[in-house]
C-alpha cells in the first residue's frame, strides 16, 4: 500500500500519475483525469485559476486515499496530483491513479477519491471567460467531516 499526494504549479501531466503506479503485484490500474473544458454552464471558458489551502488539502486528500484503500481491502496504491494556479483549456487540473490486484477495486477506489475530493478538499476555482469576465465557481459548503471521521 502506498499513497502519493502532490500539488502541481500549473497543469498536471498524465505521466506524473502513471509513473507512480509500479506495483508488480497489481494487475489493474484505473485513472481519472479532470481537464478544463471549453464550455461550462453555457459560458465559453478560456482558463481556470485554482486556489488551494495546501496543508489542509494534503491532509484531507491523504485521508480520502486511506479511506478508499480501506474500502477495497487494503491492497492498493494511490496517486493524486492536483493543480494550482493557471490551467488552460484541454490541460489537466487533477490526476488520480489507483492500482490493485483486480480491476473492480481499482475502479471503485478511483471513483470514491474524485467524489470525496469534490466535496471535502479545500480547493477553489476561478473561471476566466471569453468576454473578459471572471467568476469563482460555486461549490459545496465544507462540513466537519474530518472531525467525525477521525473521532
Amino acid at each position: 500500500m502506498s499513497i502519493y499526494v502532490e500539488f502541481s504549479n500549473g497543469p498536471v501531466e498524465h505521466s506524473s500519475i502513471t509513473r507512480n503506479l509500479t506495483n508488480n503485484a497489481h494487475g489493474a490500474q484505473n485513472m481519472f483525469f479532470g481537464a478544463v473544458r471549453t464550455v461550462n454552464l453555457g459560458r465559453n471558458v478560456t482558463k481556470i485559476d485554482y486556489d488551494l489551502f495546501a496543508p489542509l488539502a494534503k491532509k484531507v486528500i491523504t485521508e480520502i486515499c486511506e479511506e478508499s484503500i480501506k474500502q477495497v481491502g487494503e491492497n492498493a496504491d494511490v496517486a493524486v496530483i492536483h493543480a494550482y494556479n493557471t490551467v488552460k483549456i484541454g490541460e489537466l487540473s487533477i490526476g488520480i491513479g489507483v492500482s490493485t490486484p483486480h480491476r473492480a477495486e481499482s475502479y471503485d477506489a478511483c471513483r470514491y477519491i474524485i467524489e470525496e475530493i469534490k466535496m471535502r478538499a479545500p480547493i477553489w476555482k476561478k473561471e476566466y471567460y471569453e468576454d473578459g469576465e471572471t467568476e469563482w465557481v460555486q461549490g459545496h459548503a465544507l462540513c466537519q467531516h474530518n472531525h467525525r471521521e477521525t473521532a
Partner: protein, 87 residues
Amino acid sequence: MAKVTIRLFGAFRNYISDESVSLEIEETTTAREVRKSLENYFIKNAQNFDSKIIEESMLATDNAVLNLDDKIPVGETLAILPPVCGG
C-alpha cells in the same frame, strides 16, 4: 485580547487584495464568534460584500475544519474556507 491571522481563499479574494486579515479576538472565543468578527471586517472594508458567503464558509487550521462551537486554538494561523469545488 489576542491577534489572529486569517488566510483568505477563493471568492474572499474578490473583496480585498490581501492574502490574509488580522483581527483582535478574545482568547477564549469560538469559531462562530471569529467568523462573525470577520463578517464585520468585510462589511466595513470591502465593496459589495455579500454576507451569504460567510454563512457558507468554515474556519480551519492547517489540520482540520473547525466546528462553529470549537474554541479557537491560540497562536495558530486560521483560514476561512468558502464552499469548495476541486477536481
